[in-house]
Amino acid sequence: MLPEMAAPAIRTSRLTKDYGVGRGLFDLDLQVSAQEVFGYLGPNGSGKTTTIRLLMGMISPSHGTAHVFGLDCFREAVEVKRKVGYLPGDVPQFGSLRGSEVVAYLGGMRGGVDRRRVRALAERFDLDLGRRFREYSSGNKQKLAIVLAFMHEPDLLILDEPTSSLDPLNQQEFYALLRETRDGGATVFLSSHVLSEVEHVCDRVGIIRDGRLVRVAQLDELRRIRVHRVEIEFAPDTAVPETPIRDAEGVEEVTISGQRVTCTVRGGFEALMRAIRDAQVVDFISTEPSLEEIFLSYFSERKPKALPP
C-alpha cells in the first residue's frame, strides 16, 4: 500500500467557504475512511455542492484545509484528481459531440481510456454511446456522467446527487455498482437529499444544514431519524385496530377518520405491521417526507438538538 493510501480518503479541518450573508460552508471537520461509502445528506442549498467543489479544488477555501489521501485539494489538485472520479451535480453540455467522443475527449485528458471498462459500463446502463449528446434524454446524460466518473476505476468517487434523473431500475443498478466499487477497495463520497437513497448504500452519513455539519451518524442512527407518513384504509366491515396502532412502537400522530388511519412511523414498520395484521387492509400508502421536514422534526431552526437514543 502506498504511504498516502494510509491517510484517510478525505479529511477536512475547519473548512470554510464564506459567500457572505450566511451562505456557504462553515468550519467543516470531516473524516472519511478508505473503502467507506459516505453519504452527505442535506436539503437543497445546504452546502453539499460547495463541499464537493472544495474537495475537487474547483473553489478555494476562505480558511481551513481539505485533503484527499493526504494531498491538499487545492495546491495538489492535479495529483488529487488522478485518484478521483467525479460526477458533478449538473451534467455539462457537450452539444454535438457523440457520447463516445465525450468519453474519448475526457479520457484523453487522463492519458487514455480503458475501452473494455467503458463498454461494460455502457452496456450495464444500456447507454448508446453512438448518439449525439444533444439527443440524449436527461437520464442518458446522467448515465454518461456515471460512465465518466467510473471509467478509470478511481480510488475515490465524489458524486454529487448521482441518481437524479435516473429511473428506478437504473437507480438500483447504480446502487449495485456502488457496492461493487466499495468491495473493490474504492471510497465513495456521495451527496444526496434523499434519506432512503443514502440508507440503501452508505456506511455512514453526514448531515449538513445551512452550511454546517449537524451530525455524522451511523446507519442505525439514520434509521432512527427516518420517518414515514402512512395512510391505511381498512375494509368497510373491519374494525379499525385503534389501540394497537396507537400503542405500536415508533407510531406517532395517529388520526382516525372512519376507516382511514393516518400516522407517522419512526424507524421500522415491524410494530405497525403487527398492530394491523388481523385487520383487512384495502390500501396502504407510505410516503417519505422531505429532508427539510425531517430536520424540522428533529432539529430546532437555530440549534440542533441531540438525536433520540
Partner: protein, 540 residues
Amino acid sequence: MIAIVFGLRLGRWGVVGFSLAAFVSTLIQTVGFYQIAGHTPGERIAFGNSILALASQFSALFPPPIRPDTVGGYVEFRGFHPLAILFAVWALASATGAARGDEERGIVAAALGTGISRLGLIAARTIAFAIGVVIAAAAAAAGFLVGVASGHESVSPLGVIEASGLLVAVGLSCYALSLLVAQLAAVRVATAAAGVLLLALFLLNSLSRVFDSLSMWRWLSPFRYYDLSQPLPLGGHFEARAVVVLVGVSVVAAAAAAAAFEFRDLGSALVRPPRRASRVSNTVSGAAWWRWPVWRGVFERRIATAVWAVGMAALAIVFVSLTRTIVQVLLSIPSLLPYLSIFVRQQVYPGVLGFTWFNVAQLLFAAMAITYVARWSAEDSDGRLELALSQPISRAAVVVERVATLVACALVIVAASGATLYYASHVQGIDLNAGRVVAASLMLIPFALVFASAGSLLAAWNPRAAVGLLGAFAFASYLDTELGSIYKLPLWVQDLSAFKLFGTPLLTGVDGRNLALLLLLSLVGLASSILAMQRRDVGA
C-alpha cells in the same frame, strides 16, 4: 409585456455594449473630423477629395460618400456605415441566440411552459431586439450630436433621425432574416447558415458596385436599401420607400419565422433529412486525436475550421479580383499617379491588396478570436470547464491548450487563405513576392494571439462579460490605429493596438519590433490569464 422585458433582460449586455460602441464611434469620428479636416473651405475641399480617393479602395465595403468635406458626409461614411455592419453582426448573434441558443439552454421550453404562444414568443423577442437597436441607434445619434456641438456647428435634426432610423431598419431586417434561417436549420449550423446568408446578401450588394453583372440581383439585399439613403450630409437624400421595404422585410421574415416555429419540434429544424437507422454502440471513439493535447481541440473544431478556411480563401479570391478593378480605376485618375508612385513605390497591386485584403483579414481574425473566447466563456457556464478540471490536468494547461488550439486552427486558415491569395493573384497577373505573402499571412497568427490572450484573461476573470469586453477591446484597438495619429496619442498608446502593430507586411515586410511587441502583448495576456485562472473559483 413580461416576455419583452425578459427578452431585453437576456440581451442587456448586447444593448449596453453596442450602444456604447455606437456612441463612442460616432463621437470620435465627429470630433476627429474637426481635428483633421481643416477650417477653411479650401482645406475642407482638399480633405474631402482625399477621403473620396480613400473611399474608392473601400467600395467593396461601403458606398461612396457624399460631401465628405462636411461633418455629416464624413461621419456618415466613417461612423454610420460601419455601424450598419456592426448592427448586422449583432442582429445575427442575437437572433440565432434567441431562436436556438436559448432553446439549447431550455429557456424557450420554460417560456412556452408559462403559456405564451410561439407566435407571442417570437414577437416578444423581436420587439425586445427592436427596442435594443433603437437605443443603440439613439446612442449613435447622440455621439454625433455631441461631437457636432464640440465643433460649434449645427446639423439638421431630421437627417440625424433619418440616419438612426436607417440603422434600426437594417438591424431589424437582419435580425428577422437570421431568425427565419435559425428556424429552418439544425441547431449546430443555425448561426453559420444565418451568417452565410447575411454575408452573401452583403457581398451581393457591395460587389454590385464593382461588378455590373450583380447589379440586377442587388434588390434582394437589405443592405441595398440602406445604401439608397445618405441623409446626414448637406445635399444628402433619404429614401423613405427603402425604409418601408426594410421594415416590410422584417415583418414578413419574422412572421415566416413564427410560422416555421409553429410547425417544428423544439430542438429540431423545420426541415429534417431522414435519419439512417443505426445500431446501438457501446464503444469509445477510436480517433487517436482525442488523446493528444491541442489536437483534440483542433479535431473537435474541424468543421468550423474548415468553414473558416474555405470562407477566407473565397474572400481572398474576391479581393484579388477587386484589386485589379480598383487599381485600374485609381490609375485612370491622373492626379493620383504621383501620389501612388510615391506611396507604394511602383508596387501598386501589392500595396492595394495588402491594404484591403489584410485589413479585412485582421478584422476576421479578431472576430475568430472572439468566437473562441465566447466558447471558453460558455464552457465555464455550462460546466465543461468544471468537468475538464476534474481530470488530472492543471488550470495552466487548460489555458495554454485553449490558446494553442486557436493558434493551430488559425494556422490552417492562414495556410488556406495565403495559398489561395498567392495563386489567385498569379492567375490575375499580379505578381506577389511569395516570401512576403507567407510572412504577411503568418503575421495574422500573433495578431490573433493578442486578442486570444486578452480574451483568455477576460474569460478567466469574468466569463459572463468576456465577449462584450473583448469586443470593446477590439473596437478600441481598431479606433486606436485609426485615430491615434489624428489625436496625436503617445506612441506607446498607439503601439498597444494590434491593428497598428500588424503593419503592412505584404508591402514592406514584417517589422521585427512590431512582431516582438505583438508576441510580448500575447505573452503578458497569457501569463495573466494563467494567474487569474489559478486564483478563481470554478463553477461557483
